[in-house]
């Protein structure tokens, strides 16, 4: 089985969010970069678990990013994965990124393409669906469990207010969320091995860019909390009803 895991580089969850150049660029000053948590904890670790169950499985990682993403992809390789592919381009929009990933997927003939449920920076949750459509494959979103018997996958996915079990034949695209796998920490052997695992760089294919960010902004600051004394709970209820009109 061949598995392709999509890896994105994102600012750390606790990074300060600020913008420069007239609010057109994310301020990278002092920002710690991480593997997008959903890509790492759920998609990549699930791929590793599948390979542990079937050692003949091959895991490739793909990222669509300039060279500054290499420390992140090396970190991903330290967790697991036999080889990484970096498509050497700025990421532009989700359609452009999905087009690059779909091209890598076509070349590699993968049985399973895994993504996280969304990136924590752009929150688009659209790459998996777009890649699936470009490849004419089924796409199971927000998967929490994945089991394989031959080429038949049994997948549990979140639906509003519950969950649903799907059966689908490989190949397919899947976005993973909490429950899919347990987060792991790279060990020393993995870190050493990652240095020698191939990281191939390939140039992008021509693809359109359908959307572009004009500018960013920060939400208006809250007016500040109005504290009510613990002895006057009914006053809080009155404020919520009359002032905030919250119920």
């Amino acid at each position: 089985m061949k598995i392709l895991v999509c890896i994105s580089k994102t600012p750390d969850t606790t990074a300060k969010i600020a913008f420069t150049d007239n609010n057109t660029k994310f301020d990278v000053n002092g920002v710690q970069w991480i593997i997008n948590p959903y890509d790492e904890w759920y998609a990549l670790v699930k791929a590793i678990e599948l390979k542990e169950a079937d050692p003949t499985a091959v895991i490739h990682l793909v990222t669509v990013a300039p060279a500054d993403a290499e420390p992140i992809i090396r970190k991903a390789l330290a967790l697991g994965g036999d080889e990484a592919i970096r498509v050497n381009t700025d990421s532009h929009d989700s359609y452009y990124i999905a087009s690059q990933i779909a091209e890598v997927a076509r070349q590699g003939g993968y049985d399973l393409v895994l993504t996280g449920k969304e990136t924590i920076d752009y929150n688009g949750s659209s790459i998996g669906g777009m890649v699936a459509e470009l490849l004419d494959l089924p796409y199971i979103s927000l998967a929490t469990k994945f089991e394989l018997a031959g080429t038949k996958a049994t997948i549990t996915r979140e639906i509003e207010g519950g969950e649903e079990v799907n059966e689908v034949e490989l190949p397919l695209v899947l976005s993973a969320t909490k429950g899919m796998a347990e987060a792991r920490i790279p060990n020393m052997r993995g870190i050493m091995a990652a240095r020698t695992r191939p990281l191939k760089v390939q140039e992008p294919v021509a693809a359109e860019v359908l959307t572009s960010v004009s500018d960013f902004g920060l939400p208006a600051a809250k007016a500040g909390v109005k504290l009510v004394d613990a002895e006057h709970v009914e006053e809080l209820v009155r404020l919520l009803h009359e002032e905030a009109k919250a119920f």
């Binding site: 089924p138 649903e164 059966e167 209820v237 919520l240 009803h241």
Partner: protein
């Protein structure tokens, strides 16, 4: 030309999020000088014509039983046929699980630029620009769409459903429906409860509750407000509460009108899932809890003392004995 809105259903009933999408789509149609039309797939129990009160003029109903299960690949194909037939220049989805699964596929199929998680109407003064949340609600971006056909998924509670007068014309649409590749073999749903992702009011509790046996007062408060219950990640991880109640970065992102957080410190990962709530109330015994910085109202004190008093005060106000 039209704005086409996707009406999302569950067991034949129109979801609340779709009423917001219809209102948004009708307003967008006004801005674009065109009419709002909608598409619904599969068997529907509700009165579709009545949805005209949200501003939609015409509803294309693909009444085909094989569409009662939502297969995103099949749905994207059918919606593309309807969008083509109606000459849609904008397709609107809710940014819920259906929208997240179908809209990206439709974007590829129609080569239509997608803005996911929109929080405002498009700005058409210079091209076509839509505001969306980024960085898990910590910032927003204005996204320009550079294609003739555009797709928007609308965040829940970003546009209040507005009912006026009007009746929609419901017309059958015959589409070519392919066989789906995904077989649904089981569905489990919490029944009879208020759906967390659709709730106007959410009462949420964290580790400060000390144990699952203490959730009674949280549920009582939720009941008095007709609210859904939620919890923080440590609570779900400890199996004090079911996973489908977990809100935050790794759980559900919600945006109710009122969010009451009890015994939750307010870590940045938790805030990422709830910071779009209109009014946030924090009850915590630690005055230094970071959540107070993100709150509109707060009480520093013991939840076991405050929460029952709150329930009593609400019942009194509502005239419930």
């Amino acid at each position: 030309m039209s704005v086409l809105i996707f009406i999302d259903t569950a067991e034949g009933h129109v979801k609340k999020a779709s009423l917001e999408a219809l209102t948004y789509g009708a307003k967008a149609a006004g801005l674009l000088g065109t009419t709002a039309e909608a598409v619904v797939l599969g068997t529907v129990q509700d009165d579709l014509a009545a949805l005209g009160k949200y501003g939609v003029k015409k509803i294309h109903h693909v009444n085909n039983e094989s569409l009662n299960h939502q297969d995103a690949q099949v749905f994207a194909n059918v919606i593309a046929q309807v969008a083509g037939a109606t000459g849609a220049s904008l397709v609107v989805f809710s940014n819920n699980l259906s929208g997240k699964a179908i809209a990206p596929r439709l974007s590829v199929r129609m080569k239509a630029g997608l803005v996911s998680g929109a929080v405002a109407l498009p700005d058409t003064s210079n091209g076509f620009m839509v505001k969306k949340n980024v960085f898990s609600g910590k910032a927003f971006a204005n996204v320009s769409v550079n294609t003739a056909i555009r797709i928007i998924t609308l965040n829940t509670n970003a546009c209040q459903a507005l009912a006026g007068d009007g009746t929609a014309e419901v017309v059958p649409f015959t589409a070519a429906v392919e066989a789906g590749k995904v077989k649904v073999t089981g569905v489990s749903k919490a029944s009879g409860e208020i759906l967390l992702t659709e709730a106007e009011i959410v009462v949420s509790a964290g580790r400060g509750m000390k144990g699952p046996e203490n959730w009674g007062i949280v549920e009582e408060l939720a009941k008095s407000l007709h609210a859904a219950t939620a919890c923080s990640r440590p609570v779900a991880d400890a199996h004090w509460r079911p996973h489908n109640e977990h809100v935050g970065q790794t759980g559900f992102a919600i945006a109710p009108n009122l969010y009451i957080a009890i015994g939750i410190s307010g870590a940045i990962q938790h805030l990422a899932g709830v910071n779009r709530s209109k009014v946030i109330v924090v009850i915590n015994k630690d005055p230094e809890a970071p959540f107070f910085k993100a709150a509109d109202y707060g009480i520093v004190g013991d939840a076991f003392d405050i929460v029952p008093k709150m329930t009593a005060a609400i019942k009194k106000l509502k005239g419930i004995a």
